[in-house]
């Protein structure tokens, strides 16, 4: 059951660790997701793991929950070494995961959802009386107000999350992992959640809380582990560190040095954006009045923790979502233009998610390379596709960007992620666009490919292209950008100089700690 285990007082003075990770490493083809990760979570505490997107938090939690096996290192739960081959092994060891995206069946009731998969049975039928009693006991112990006969479709987000927590407890978890639990909640729901979590640990459970919201981390956790670039870099407590200090730990005190550039930024404004507003859910704008311009040969970096409006800004620039405001490319006003007209006016896009927005996985590479360029007169013959020219152009992309593939007829799904990305980047750059909107152009690709993509972007920039570069990779952001704009909560909250910016400065702007917007 959920509430066994020694009831240590919080902040627990006992030395016993609920979870211990030593030297965990995990590689994916071309990427090191985790290396030398060490973590010690005391029993009966709320332990926060903070870090930027891509710092390796999710990989680590998947390892701990048995969703993937680490290449190196050991996992100890309650003092015993464990090898998790699947989440059910982790559940057996008392570990439960509350996912960021709820996994509930909408048309079932709360009770049915909770028992789904481990229904108490009597004579081959579900014993609802037993289930009801057990679930009621758990909700009562949480002090949670939950109508277990309501349909899940009628519940709000906060209640759904509570259902997920009860579900995990119902399966006997004593160690709960919560992946960005507050990302979807409104402030009052956050308070409710934290009350629930405190109650849980008071009853002896252990909570591992993944977040990048520093206020929440400092407010609710007993211990904090900071991750950066795939490894654990610091352990601290809310008593030892303030927000600025934590932000600096997250971003790192050593910033990469910007690469010197040999060409000058031109005078011609190639992209001008004025008062761009993108409506968001619940009446709050996702982008709240963005104004900036990028000149020829200039790279404007866009920093920010994911979910602060970067995606909405970029897709609005491409005309993929409704927005108000002005977008001008090379003095052509595109504010009311369709996506295709924007492409034709010289706006190219490297999308955030290559699988969702960039590729037709079942189509051959040459058709993928043609996507978005099928209006190009060199690749068509009147109303017909010039197959030979399209394939030749694809071979050019393959050669120039080092896409590793047998040939241009290979379907896109057969390529590794890095090579798919190189094709997407090549497709955008080969048109010599006026303006490139590049979202995480080197995410998930290996170092060699990354350098090649950077070189190509610099070359295009030197030839006069203007770039809006969205990146979570500080090396990329500082190494390429001429100016760094920080987005926080839908606004461009700061314009920083990559030559002089400090980690603390960047971190505080990205996490909204900085008092006043400079821009």
């Amino acid at each position: 059951m959920a509430h066994e285990g020694p009831t240590t007082q919080r902040p627990g003075a006992t030395a016993s660790a609920a979870v211990r990770l030593e030297g965990i490493g995990k590689r994916f083809p071309g990427v090191i997701a985790n290396h030398d990760v060490n973590l010690r979570v005391r029993r009966g505490t709320i332990h926060a793991i903070v870090g930027e997107n891509g710092a390796g938090k999710s990989t680590l939690m998947k390892t701990l929950y048995g969703m993937q096996q680490p290449d190196t290192g050991r996992i100890e739960v309650d003092g015993t070494e464990r090898h998790f081959r699947s989440p059910s092994d982790a559940i057996d060891a008392g570990i439960g995961m509350v996912h960021q995206h709820f996994m509930l069946a909408d048309n079932l009731t709360v009770l049915e959802n909770i028992i789904l998969g481990s229904e108490p049975a009597r004579r081959g039928r579900i014993d609802f009386a037993e289930a009801r009693a057990r679930v009621a006991a758990i909700t009562a112990s949480l002090g949670a107000d939950l109508d277990i006969d309501a349909a899940v479709s009628e519940l709000g987000v906060g209640e759904r999350q509570r259902v997920e927590i009860v579900k995990v407890l119902y399966r006997g978890a004593r160690i709960l992992i919560l992946d960005e639990p507050t990302a979807v909640l409104v402030p009052e729901e956050v308070d409710d959640l934290f009350r629930t979590l405190r109650r849980l640990v008071a009853e002896g459970a252990t909570v591992i809380f993944i977040s990048h919201k520093l206020d929440e981390v400092l407010g609710v956790s007993d211990d904090i582990t900071v991750m950066r670039q795939g490894t654990t870099v610091a352990e601290t407590t809310p008593g030892e560190v303030d927000r600025a200090g934590l932000a600096e730990l997250m971003v790192g005190s050593e910033l990469p040095s910007p690469a010197g550039r040999t060409t000058e930024i031109g005078d011609r404004v190639r992209l001008e954006v004025r008062d761009l507003v993108v409506p968001g859910p619940e009446g709050r704008p996702a982008v709240d009045g963005a104004t900036f311009s990028i000149r020829s040969g200039e790279i404007l970096g866009l920093a920010g923790v994911e979910g602060n409006g970067q995606f909405e800004l970029c897709t609005a620039l491409l005309g993929l979502r409704d927005s108000t405001g002005t977008v001008i490319v090379d003095s052509a006003d595109l504010s009311a233009a369709s996506t295709r007209e924007r492409h034709e006016a010289g706006l190219a896009y490297i999308p955030f998610d290559r699988h969702r927005e960039g590729l037709m996985l079942n189509a051959p590479l040459w058709e993928n390379a043609l996507l978005g360029r099928e209006g190009n007169p060199n690749l068509v013959n009147g109303p017909f596709i010039d197959t030979a020219a399209s394939r030749a152009s694809t071979r050019e992309i393959i050669d120039r960007f080092g896409v590793l593939t047998p040939n241009e007829m290979t379907p896109a799904f057969a390529l590794s992620g890095g090579n798919q990305q190189k094709l997407v980047v090549g497709r955008a750059l080969v048109t010599d666009p006026a303006v490139l909107v590049a979202a995480h152009p080197t995410r998930g690709i290996d170092v060699g490919a990354q350098a090649a993509v950077w070189d190509e972007m610099r070359r295009a920039r030197d030839a006069g292209m203007a770039v809006l570069l969205v990146s979570a990779d500080l090396e990329e952001l500082i190494g390429l950008s001429d100016t760094i704009a920080v987005m926080f909560d839908g606004r461009i909250s700061a314009m920083l100089d990559p030559d002089t910016v400090t980690a603390a400065e960047l971190g505080s702007h990205m996490t909204g700690t900085h008092q006043e917007a400079l821009a």
Binding site: G30, E341, E344, R356, I385
Partner: protein
């Protein structure tokens, strides 16, 4: 990552186990291998289907060998081959109509309603026109396509404007079409001058009739069907519009990101599908009955077209072959009945074939995808891939 500077594009860098690779460029060999495996898997599926049907026959106390012998013997005669082509003609139209929708993941189940509506309108308009021979036939065909597209446009407007799923709307519109047709026919278009029980619209004048290729056996609409399939191939696989259509089908989000207007593609695809659907009953209207009539105009071809499109995997060549197979099986039903075999077994065989082909194809495609990915990796191993 050592291969960055030398991407392996030259055809002779990879050691090939397959002799095809040495004759053909690797890309063409890939395509040929893929289609070869597809054809082979379809043949295997048909064999499985015939086995299952044989078991069904045996289970009902009929001798499956007798039944199959009858089918083969009947099919071997030249007359039956013509009948097969004749029966395949409307199936080619309806399967092509369905396949156009499928190419962008639109499931047009409304071909039935679209073609019956088109048949009525085209027959009625055709009987009132006074035009020179070839122009008259062309005009009737154009009217049929417009009428089919018009009926399909209702589903298109509902989908784009109100987000009504086309499966729901086209099924419902089939029923509505039947009522509208009956109302129009009974109240306005019915011609009783014949005096018989077999009421029809006014007969088309000679100038509005499509000649037979083989008198009384095969109408020239068969050639129109082949031309339609070729046009389908050219438009879908070779034109820019077709590329945009298929891109929307492959990945709607990526297509939209690339500037392809999904709403416009949806409307165009449904209109085109409806236009081709409008041709389904033309072999009857232009070549046989020379009119629309509740008993003269063939029904159910819209649904058979879905099966044929599935069987032919929405590919032009596949559609022609599948339509021929269905036409052939249909053509044998009379002889089967004479041989004391229930001719409904033909429908059973057709249904079992579609099911097995769909299942076997799905399995084959998955295996093929895994193999393709493995081959790509293996071919790169010489270049030192990650």
């Amino acid at each position: 990552m050592t291969a960055l500077d030398s991407p392996p594009t030259a055809p002779d860098t990879s050691p090939s186990r397959n002799p095809l690779d040495r004759i053909l460029t690797p890309s063409r060999a890939t395509a040929l291998r893929t289609s070869g495996i597809t054809v082979a898997s379809s043949l295997v599926a048909i064999l499985i289907a015939l086995t299952i049907s044989a078991i069904l026959l045996a289970a009902t106390g009929k001798n499956p060998i007798d039944a199959y012998t009858t089918i083969i013997e009947t099919g071997a005669s030249g007359n039956k081959l013509l009948e097969m082509l004749k029966r395949a003609t409307p199936l080619i139209f309806s399967a092509t109509a369905v396949a156009i929708g499928f190419k962008m993941n639109i499931f047009n189940i409304g071909v039935e309603g679209q073609y019956l509506f088109a048949a009525l309108i085209a027959a009625e308009v055709g009987s009132r026109l006074d035009l020179p021979p070839i122009v008259h036939v062309a005009a009737i065909i154009a009217v049929a396509m417009l009428a089919g597209a018009a009926w399909a446009s209702i589903a298109a407007v509902l989908k784009v404007g109100k987000n009504v799923h086309e499966v729901i709307s086209t099924i419902m519109l089939n029923y509505i079409a039947l009522s509208v047709i009956q109302w129009l026919f009974e109240n306005f278009f019915r011609d009783d001058s014949d005096g018989g029980l077999n009421v029809k619209t006014t007969l088309l004048p000679d100038s509005g009739r499509m000649p037979d290729l083989v008198s009384g056996r095969l109408n020239a609409m068969f050639l129109v069907a082949l031309a339609t399939v070729i046009a389908f191939w050219v438009v879908v696989y070779r034109s820019r519009f077709g590329f945009r259509l298929r891109a929307s089908g492959f990945n709607a989000t990526a297509a939209a990101t690339a500037g392809i207007d999904a709403r416009r593609m949806t409307v165009t695809a449904l209109l085109l599908s409806g236009a081709v659907a409008g041709l389904v009953a033309m072999p009857s209207v232009l070549g046989e009955a020379f009119a629309y009539g509740p008993n003269a105009t063939p029904i159910q071809f819209g649904f058979a077209g879905i099966a044929v499109a599935l069987l032919g995997r929405n590919h032009p060549a596949g559609i022609v072959v599948a339509a021929m197979l269905f036409g052939f099986l249909d053509s044998t039903s009379a002889e089967l009945q004479l041989a004391q075999v229930p001719n409904s077994i033909v429908k059973v065989i057709q249904a079992v074939i579609v099911l097995t082909v769909v299942i076997v194809n799905e399995a084959t495609i998955r295996r093929l995808n895994i193999r393709t990915a493995e081959r790509a990796r293996a071919e790169l191993a010489t270049g030192g891939a990650s």
